[in-house]
Assembly symmetry: C2
């Protein structure tokens, strides 16, 4: 195969390094905090700034897309760009990222102003430096390095970018946006550029993310709180029943005990387990990050297997009865549960919901009325290890890092699964951020060395994909 | 035996009926609401009014007793009175009641002003008419009728009264008061005049009340709420563990599953069960009062057995994690339980606490830290059916009502158990109020017919007790 020359890529990147960092810093200075209605104008400024830079990068199309809620209320804008390859058989790739950021203020404990990026000690600090502006922006220099090193005037793949503006607010209007523009977003693969690696010295590719189905269960017993001396022990207590439901979620092996829950779930292969085991996992350090004081989970699986590749059930909230100081001897009138289920490939959201509904209904005694609401769901995604696009990604990262690339997964889920579902394309993950980068926390930063490894990966990836993958030939 | 002539008692009562009602109405007009600090002066006026009336009734000693909290803050006054029999072998009886009342206002939905008693349709309405002023005050006319009918100048028993002023506020200073005055309160039996009967046409004597031990259990997992996508399924979740504890309180037969909980608990005898079964119990009507939509409790026992005579465990409150609108995918940092245990005769509070402590500690996984606090407890009380004082009570009520007296118990507990424990005397219950009297609710009233049956019972009781019971000869 004809490879983009690594030395040419590196030399191009080195020449444009300073200007690239200046531009990224300018973007980080725009406080596009999607959670803050007062900063809606900054979100628009951020979108317009990005569209302008993408045009200057060479994208012939770069548009600001409006979003709106179901009720028609205006949302925050996304940015869409495309750069056709010009070659009829070229794969079409859609890069996903976001240009909004988490809230941040010096008073939260930042060492420097969060929206005044500082470059020092090989890092750029600032809110959004890693999540996700840096990881979006590296594609601009990446594609230019790809062109410079190959002498092309358009990328080897049909390159599309969708950079949303509401990810940190839960992407409330994203599904609608993608559905409305599904034709223009059509692609052979989605590359989510909004994750990270295992560690600075352990470059990794993420191959999947768990899905999510959550629900609220409301249990109603007596019409009002009643005296537990007069009636306790003779009428059903909704707090007891809520507890019995939550307790019955897991058996003694901490397997999820809802009948049918595991139906279809893809089991870990021996290879999957070997790849997880190849990571330098330090349980004590993991517990520190988890701020937890012990591990507990499904028998027969390691901690990483449990959080990355096993379906789980979690009690996110439980409440009912008297919660103030002292005691109050009542049988409470109602009790409530918020549960969430993490799903893996092969599990069907509707099947899980139905299993949970049946399980709840079957377990409650007469005299307890219940309601159950499933507000939303995200499907799991899993990239097959032998997918040619994944292999391109691993090769490209390997060239950039000069190291073997290991494999991780994500325990949680983002808008990636929506893209997979609506566009019918597999999702890949390209991320160079590391756990110490401080996402959603104070002193967010990005390591410059890793940032430019991202640029380099992007520069190799488009050529490698075009050369090694003919999408129509592969079953997704 | 020489009985107080029933006709003489009735004729005396009839002659003094109008004056008695006038006086009771005057007392009900004093809004001695113990929960309202602004009405502390009314509580004092109520106590002084009662002490004065007891002196006029003939009690040679009638004192207002001050109370105070552990920290020395002044409480609301109680009234103490005594009238020695003058006969060396006479039993000593202490009547317990309270002169404070629940809050009440016309705006709550009363048909008439709650502190402007109205006599109409054979009832006196007004806050405190039944709970507990009417049931305290009937003893004044009762003892005078006893004297008039027997020609005595002092009651046949040594009669003591302790009428507290903070019962509706949880009797916070009562134990201290009784301990301080234990010598003067010494007695052979306590008669609690603060309960009721099964129904207007079904006069009953209550023979016991369940005790209470409550606790709060706090569970701590991660040092803060953590992301359930990243960590869920691999670390212990305190909300899950709280639910597992609450769920494990009962087995599938709804027996309390804490090992050792039932140790020593007095079982229902065949006679007890027959007596409960003799009551005209209508489960549908009971459920209406319980505002509940089904019965549920320990297998093998009826509803009345469950609430009156079986130890139970109840979840009074449970909370942990996210309880707001929508979802939040967290493993919560902490979760909390408020549990209460109703106890029956033979159970030891310290033993139950220790059993609960051991049970909690044994069930929690590594990584969950816990704290457990038992704020207070009340011991159960149970009057043996063959106790001579109980038999006196049943005979006296039978004469007043002209009907067979059936037996009930109370599911809850009040200060009665403290009197039993501190004074070492058995507790009997004399109450003529009925469930429709509206305790703690709007339009509280007392049925005049029943009120005077209470007077009559009191008039017979002292003579019957003195004639049929020599306390030293009976094992309590």
């Amino acid at each position: 195969m004809t490879r983009t020359p690594d030395s040419a890529v590196r030399s191009y990147i080195d020449q444009h390094r300073a200007a690239f960092l200046d531009e990224l810093a300018a973007w980080v200075r725009i406080p596009s905090v999607s959670a803050d209605p007062a900063r809606a104008g900054e979100s628009r400024r951020s979108a317009e700034w990005l569209a302008d830079r993408l045009r200057r990068t060479g994208f012939p199309v770069a548009e600001v897309w409006e979003t709106e809620s179901e009720s028609g209320a205006p949302g925050l804008p996304a940015v869409y760009a495309e750069w056709p390859s010009g070659e009829p058989a070229a794969p079409t790739v859609l890069v996903y990222g976001h240009h909004d950021v988490q809230p941040a203020a010096l008073a939260d404990g930042w060492a420097t102003e969060p929206f005044e990026p500082v470059i020092a000690d090989g890092r750029m600090s600032g809110r959004g430096a890693a999540d996700d502006k840096g990881q979006v922006f590296f594609h601009t220099l990446g594609v230019r390095a790809h062109l410079a090193a190959t002498g092309r005037t358009a990328p080897a793949v049909n390159l599309k970018l969708l950079i949303e503006g509401e990810e940190e607010s839960g992407s409330p209007n994203f599904v609608d946006l993608v559905r409305r523009h599904a034709d223009r977003l059509a692609c052979d693969a989605v590359i989510v550029s909004d994750t990270g690696m295992w560690a600075e010295d352990t470059p990794t590719v993420c191959t999947g993310a768990r899905g999510l189905a959550d629900c609220q269960i409301d249990l109603y017993g007596p019409d009002q709180d009643i005296h537990s001396g007069s009636f306790g022990g003779a009428v059903p207590n909704p707090a007891t029943e809520a507890a019995r439901l939550a307790a019955a979620l897991h058996d003694d092996d901490r397997r999820v005990a809802v009948p049918g829950f595991y139906d279809g779930a893809v089991e870990l292969t021996e290879l999957d387990r070997e790849l997880f085991a190849a990571l330098p996992f330090d349980e004590q350090r993991w517990l520190e990050v988890a701020k937890s004081h012990g591990t507990l989970g499904e028998a027969g699986y390691t901690t990483l297997e449990r959080v990355w590749a096993r379906p789980t059930a979690e009690v996110n909230g439980i409440w009912g009865g008297y919660t103030g100081p002292g005691g109050k001897t009542i049988v409470p009138s109602s009790a409530h549960l918020k549960l969430s289920f993490r799903l893996v490939a092969g599990q069907d959201v509707e099947h899980v919901r139905s299993a949970v509904r049946d399980w709840v209904a079957a377990r409650l005694p007469a005299g307890i009325r219940h309601e159950i609401v499933f507000p939303g769901a995200t499907r799991p995604c899993l990239t097959p290890l032998d997918h040619p696009a994944l292999q391109s990604m691993v090769r490209s990262m390997g060239r950039a890092f000069g190291k073997e690339i290991l494999f991780t997964r994500e325990g949680g889920s983002g808008p990636a699964a929506d893209l997979q579902d609506i566009l019918g394309a597999p999702v890949l993950f390209l991320g160079i951020s590391v756990p110490s980068d401080g996402w959603h926390s104070v002193n967010e930063k990005i390591e410059l060395d890793l940032l430019f490894k991202g640029v380099e990966t992007s520069a190799y990836l488009w050529g490698d994909l075009a050369e090694t993958w003919t999408p129509g030939e592969q079953v997704r």
